[in-house]
Structure formats: structure tokens, C-alpha cells
Symmetry: C2
Subunit: 293 residues, 2 copies
């Protein structure tokens, strides 16, 4: 697929690094765009490509366009705003990587087909270093034929690649992944917070957790950060609240009662309202350790 021209819209830490990764691997990154023009020109200088000033120019100058923007509103703006990616989009493939509500992926797929374009959703359950190194965990939604036709470029970006189902399904799965992760994180923060208040050695407690039914991935990734109050952001509290909120909406629409997801959403929302939304998700421990508030 190295004959295809690749575009990128949304050049934050994820999108920018995915562009660098494909460029390193010999793909033709021909067009980049960011809402902040200097971000786009900086990246264009770095990887020797062109920063366009309009979205329509990106569509005009690329075959496959990755969008890596922040949320539903931003997606709405780049696809349905006055200057938009659907202009002259016949034959284009859009690979949409933001964490969005499942509904917008279904809406986008329908809108794309009207202009003769295709969409895939590519939900990422990984972070910045994995974007840079092409080791993302990718869950793909959309038409299986489009997935199969574009597997090779998706493989370049990922160490794990799952086709999940029709448009919207990957977002649903991702929302559930993050919902469970967030609850487990909140659980760990409560366990360590109580342990701390009881004067239990937290290193020993984590060691015991790791050998028992209390073990979890977030124990590995977040326990030490919670203890040391090292909340440098990999996945923000605000994002955690957003993703848990998407899962809660799915639960409500399905008539499923999810009190744990609700309690976790409430904790992350509280943290955000306290002005601590930009802490990493481990920052939830600020709510459960004595004397941190």
C-alpha cells in the first residue's frame, strides 16, 4: 500500500506520532492538517510533507485519510463544517481513530457512502509511545471488505489488530474496555487509600494484591503512581469520565443497571470539577487517600 497517498487530520500526540511512524516505514504521507496551523507546519517540516490550510485540500491530496481528533464535536466540524473532508471525497477512505460515540461512526459511514467514500473506525487502546512505534492495540469497525483491503497499513500501526464488527461496534467495545479499566482503577485507589489510612505497608499490600484475586492490569500500571502521587498524564481523568459516560449511555439504552460504572463516572467527574481533570487516571487516588484533599 506504499503507492497510496496518506493524509492526517489532527496532529496531537497520537495523530502526530502515527504520521511519524508511517513516514518512517516508507509510506507517502502527503497531506497533514491541524486546527492549530503551527502544529501542522512543524510536523510537515519534520517529516517533509505538506501542511494544508483547508480540509478539502487534504482530501484532494490523499487517498487514505486518518482522522485523530478529540471528540464528536470535532468530528462533526471536520466532516460537516463549511470546509470539510467530504468535499471531493469520492474514492477516499477515512480511518477515524478518535474515541467517539458509536452513533457518530454509523452516521459518518452513511454520509461517506453518499459521496462515494468509505469509512473505517479504528479505536485505539494504547498510548503515545505505542503510536510512535507502530504498536497500537487497534479495534476496527466498519465493512469487513474495507478492513480486509486495508489490513496491511493497519498492521504497520499496530501490534494487535481486531476486526470487531459493523460501524460503531469498535467504539462500543472500546467504551467497555475503558469502563472496566476505570472501575478497576477506582477499586485500586480505594484499596490503597484504606490501606494507607490503616498504616499498612503499601508495597506489601500491592505485592499481596498481585498474587490474589485482587490482581489487575491497572495494579501494574497505576499502583505506584497512586502511592507516589505521580499523576503525569497518559490517559486523563477527563477522558476517563468521558469514556465511562459513553458506556453508561450504552447501558441505559440497553436497560442495564450499572452502579459501579456510575460510581466511577461520578468520581472522575468530581476530580474534573475540582480542576484535576488533566491528571492521569491514577489521580483518582487523590480522592481516596487521607489528607490529600
Amino acid at each position: 500500500m506504499k503507492d497510496k497517498k496518506i493524509g492526517f487530520v489532527g496532529l496531537g500526540r497520537m495523530g502526530g506520532n502515527m504520521a511519524r511512524c508511517l513516514n518512517d516505514k516508507g509510506y507517502q504521507v502527503t497531506a497533514v492538517f491541524d486546527i492549530t496551523p503551527s502544529v501542522a507546519t512543524d510536523l510537515a517540516n519534520e517529516i517533509n510533507t505538506i501542511a494544508y490550510e483547508t480540509l478539502a485540500d487534504v482530501t484532494a491530496n490523499a487517498d487514505i485519510i486518518f482522522t485523530v481528533v478529540t471528540n464528536d464535536e470535532a468530528m462533526d466540524a471536520i466532516f460537516f463544517g463549511e470546509d470539510n473532508l467530504f468535499t471531493g471525497a469520492e474514492g477516499r477512505l477515512f480511518i477515524n481513530c478518535a474515541t467517539l460515540t458509536p452513533a457518530i461512526h454509523r452516521h459518518l459511514e452513511a454520509a461517506a457512502s453518499k459521496v462515494g467514500a468509505r469509512c473505517l473506525e479504528a479505536c485505539m487502546a494504547s498510548s503515545i509511545p505505542q503510536a510512535r512505534s507502530g504498536e497500537l492495540f487497534l479495534m476496527i469497525g466498519g465493512a469487513e471488505t474495507d478492513f480486509n483491503a486495508n489490513k496491511s497499513i493497519l498492521r504497520e500501526l499496530s501490534k494487535a489488530l481486531h476486526y470487531v464488527g459493523e460501524a460503531g461496534k469498535a467504539s462500543e467495545v472500546k467504551a467497555l474496555v475503558n469502563m472496566v479499566m476505570n472501575i478497576n482503577t477506582a477499586a485500586l485507589a480505594e484499596g490503597l487509600g484504606i490501606g494507607h489510612a490503616l498504616g499498612i505497608d503499601l508495597k506489601m499490600l500491592c505485592n499481596i494484591f498481585s498474587q490474589t484475586g485482587a490482581n489487575s492490569r491497572v495494579l501494574e500500571t497505576d499502583a505506584e503512581d497512586m502511592i507516589l502521587r505521580d499523576h503525569e498524564c497518559y490517559f486523563s481523568a477527563t477522558h476517563a469520565a468521558k469514556d465511562s459516560g459513553i458506556a453508561l449511555a450504552l447501558a441505559a439504552a440497553s436497560g442495564i443497571h450499572t452502579p459501579l460504572a456510575q460510581a466511577t463516572f461520578d468520581q472522575y467527574t468530581k476530580l474534573t470539577k475540582m480542576g484535576k481533570g488533566e491528571l492521569d487516571k491514577s489521580g483518582i487516588a487523590e480522592l481516596t487517600f487521607k489528607d490529600r484533599n
Copy 2:
């Protein structure tokens, strides 16, 4: 320590199997007792020991006495009832293996020292097969000298042995282990319940959970049981409610707000009140899958 005479009080599936294990390993199990006399005589016949009719007789005929009863009330009865283990207990060591409130371990230690006896708390984070095979996960509270003096017999029963601190500390740690485990279990049940309602393939969902931040020990142990509704009991919903309740009391006494532990306690209490308390902890999925209620 094979010169010591070993007694067992409380011969349920845990206690009975611990007695069998030590007997297999060549220890002298000299005295057993159960609230249900036929349980004691059956075990006595099986491992060729003596089932006594009074607790005082157990104390009279053993040096080290393991107690493996169900709860604080049962502990109160065997140590402070009319017929009790403290009668003639000078020089005896009691190793108390039930999941109890931390306070009762401190109370017992003080009462034991008045009659010249010693106590260790031995909290188990394992199940029946591990009791039988001597592969328990043991957390010990009490005087460190008593722990060190009795390490060898504790090692025979365990594959992991942690000295946690003074009397009561092991129960605190165990309550936190089970609290976090229960929350993670409730989280998984919500994730799978929503996934099921959305028509997502649950095997694929579990596979994705296992590769992401949603991974946990309970994903390995409980996910399939939740999907198949196979709630054969290893750790009951009633026990889950009890242990989460102990942790909640510790949190409240420390002034820590723990909404996740509370929501999980509420779910397990609800399940118990529905008459499903004897389901395994995986039974919490009965509350989060559509059409199961």
C-alpha cells in the same frame, strides 16, 4: 514440628482439608471438633484421630489448635462459651483461620495472653483445593516471634506465606484483597452484561479485555462462568458481601469515602436478599445480564 500435637476446630471444607493435608504430611493430628458431631467422627475415622465432644478436650489434647470457623459469632462461642478452648490453655498456640473482623483478632490475642496462651491469625486467600494440597495463600498477623517459631507448619499448608503485622492486620489486608476482587468482579459483570445486550461476541470481548487495561485476575477466573451462568460456589455472594462490608467499616472508621466498595456491597447484598447468596461471586452477573431477572 512433627513432635507437636495438632488439633482442629471447625471441619468444613477448608478446615477438614487442612487437617487431611497435615495428616498426609506426617503431622500428628490428635484432636478434632466440629459443631456437627458426625462431621468430626467421619473425619476422625478417615485420618485415624479422635473426635472430642468438648472444646476443652481439644485444648487438653493438642499443642497447636487450628480454628477454621465461619464468623465472629462462632469465634466468640468457641473461645468464650461455657465449654471453650481457653480452658486449660496455658502454653497452647491457637492459629485462627476464619475471615473475621480485625477487632476480634486483637481481642483474642489479649484474652489468650491472660491464660498463658498465644494466638496467630492466618487469613487465607485461597479455596478448597489449595487447602487440601497445602498450597494456601496465607497472611499471618500476630507477634512476629510466634510467626517465626511456627513458620515450618505454616509452610506445609501454604505456597505463599506473608507475615503482615500485629494481630488484626492480616484480616485488614484480606478484607482489602477481597474488597478489590469483589469490585473487579462487579466491573466485569457490568462490562459483559452491556456487551451481551449490544450483541457483541463475548468471547471476543473477553479476549480484548485480556489484552488491555481491562485485564484482571477475575477476568480469568469468572468471565466464562458469568457467560455460561455456571455459578457453582467457590466463594459465595454472601461471603463477598460480608468481606466488602468489613472493608467498608474499616473505610468508614478511617474517614475514607469508598463509593465503589459501597456499590459492590449493595449488589452482593441485593443478590443475597434475592435468595442467591449461595451462588459463587460470579453470580453478580445475574444482576447485569438482560432477561436474567
